[in-house]
Symmetry: C2
Subunit: 354 residues, 2 copies
């Protein structure tokens, strides 16, 4: 039987698809859905869905699959993951698709680069996964499948649950907005993305320990929990915000925090583009209530974390350290002020940067 080696990113997507995390998508995207998703952000059947989910094929593999009635899916290390029983090999147009998917074809954009690098060939069809795709240590300490996350929510008796997506360590500013959101619902799921990210992002295992210590020290266990979102990062801004919101309903979310320049990178997206898109789609289409937040900061005059919406004071009152300056401090063994980063979190970052 012919076989297809999957990239780490494609394996991550296969994992989430097989877990039901990408519902309403149930199969690897075929050509018709591909075009409809790229052009309309919808499946052929009309349901909102932002990204094709289909493994990339090299030219060689694509021709080798010609006429195959079944295809093995292999992991990056050659391990057998499962089988596609009705394979559809088709050619896409990466160079133009990226303009719709990412709003740019700049190869410096990490999401664009990943699509261009994957080449034109894709594999659609019904994927039957036989391997155990559970996350390995240390990520097995927390629920990551939709079923496990929903069970953990049900156990806590939460009806209204807000999810927080992040690919960064949580500093005071983001702690503040998670808590603002939590105040008006029953529970909070800190749901960091732990799939593939770009070079320069803080590694997921370091972040994991930051989240763990933050939750232990600063959140009530009956109101907040950590769960993991194993998707790869696409950095596609508004369109990825749609993915992030939409799939959270599969994990039990009723509310979803959407930040400024959500899932953005560089200066490709407008500050409020993702928020505006989610608010215009609304709860009906997304299955969750989008909860937009501004950039927040510690203000000495307020004596609190605040945002431009809630603080009237001059910027000179605002405590601000650039990411670069914070990394310098941490590398040099200094702790940033506790108004910016909880000391328990800073110590973990310090060790990682040392």
């Amino acid at each position: 039987m012919p076989s297809v080696p999957l990239s780490p990113r494609d394996r991550s997507d296969l994992r989430l698809l097989s877990w039901g995390a990408y519902a309403p998508l149930a199969e690897l995207t075929g050509e018709a859905d591909h075009r409809s998703i790229v052009d309309e952000m919808r499946l052929g059947g009309g349901q909102l869905w932002p990204f094709p989910i289909a493994p990339a094929l090299s030219d060689d593999v694509a021709s080798a699959l010609s006429g195959a009635s079944s295809v093995d899916l292999l992991g990056p290390d050659g391990e057998l993951l499962g089988t596609v029983t009705d394979p559809e090999v088709y050619r896409t147009e990466p160079a133009t698709d990226v303009k719709s998917l990412f709003g740019t074809d700049d190869p410096a954009h990490p999401g664009v680069a990943a699509v261009l690098e994957a080449g034109p060939w894709r594999l659609g069809g019904t994927a039957q996964v036989d391997a155990d795709l559970s996350l390995a240590a240390p990520f097995d300490r927390h629920p990551s499948t939709p079923a496990a996350v929903k069970a953990a929510i049900a156990e806590r008796g939460w009806q209204r649950v807000v999810f927080f997506q992040t690919r960064n360590p949580i500093h005071r500013a983001h702690e503040y907005l998670t808590k603002c959101a939590l105040e008006t619902v029953d529970g909070l799921v800190i749901h960091p993305l732990v799939g593939e990210t770009k070079e320069g992002d803080v590694p997921a295992d370091v972040r994991l320990r930051c989240y763990e210590v933050l939750l232990e020290s600063y959140y009530p266990p009956d109101r907040a929990m950590l769960a993991l979102f194993a998707a790869p990062m696409r950095y596609a801004g508004p369109r990825e915000a749609v993915l992030h919101a939409l799939v959270r309903a599969n994990f039990g979310a009723t509310h979803f925090i959407v930040g400024r320049d959500h899932a953005g990178v560089g200066n490709y997206y407008g500050t409020y583009e993702a928020q505006d898109l989610l608010l215009s789609l609304g709860q009906e289409a997304l299955g969750v209530v989008p909860v937009p937040f501004e950039h927040s900061f510690y203000c000495n005059a307020c004596g609190a974390v605040a945002s431009a919406k809630t603080c009237p004071h001059d910027q000179s009152e605002h405590l601000h350290l650039s990411g670069t300056r914070q990394r310098e401090m941490l590398s040099a063994g200094e702790l940033p002020p506790p108004e910016l980063t909880r000391p328990e979190v800073a110590i973990i970052l310090q060790e990682a940067y040392a």
Copy 2:
């Protein structure tokens, strides 16, 4: 023409009715609506509405009105306010009505006491108000009619607007929850009740200066404004929470903050009764999204205001002063800690208590 002298509370209700603040109610409640409101919390036509709005008549006035085709309404000082052109004089059952309206017939309850004191007779009909019922100084500094509040909101371009009802000065704990709510919408209207309150509540003119200085010092003027809600306080807990939420839509609210034991007094209502009722009625019935909040406090370990939902620390970390202790401090010329009350507000309360 026979005339009816109105109590200050009844005049407040007439003012709001004439301003359109009590829509869908357009007329003084007649007997059929009275029964339906008391028994079902709905107008005879089925619309959600929690309290009869009809001036009380003494026995003497009630008999003098017999057969009148038109009735003058007089203010507490004898001034002519307007006319009821189709008067309906009817007898109610205060002793049993209060059980439905307030969940108690305890005459120690200030809202129950007001209804019992008003006696059984009420005047329904179409009220034509001729007098200028605008609020007098110092309350004329801020918008108070639905039209004026909506115009002020439109001027600021806010689409999503959360309203905060209060009958107390705003301490840090309530500032926190107004700001939490503001973070996820466009604007905040601090909308204190300035109609009749019970003995022992901080007078509205003192509170007004507290709100003004707080807004000037701690809220951005393009995101928060002060407007006045001239209704009398009923202390009816969940049922009054329905009134408070419902009528805010007439002032331009899209969201409404509902606290623990909202509009409660003493121990008559369950802590979450008002929140549960508003959440179960929902945006559809209320015309606003209810935004529930917990009791909040300053926590030394959090270094922030928080609630039981967002703070895991021991109560020994929580800064707490009883209302009595705070009043003692203020009377003695001491300022409570700034984590509890902004100094600008504390100074005004200090002067008032001196």
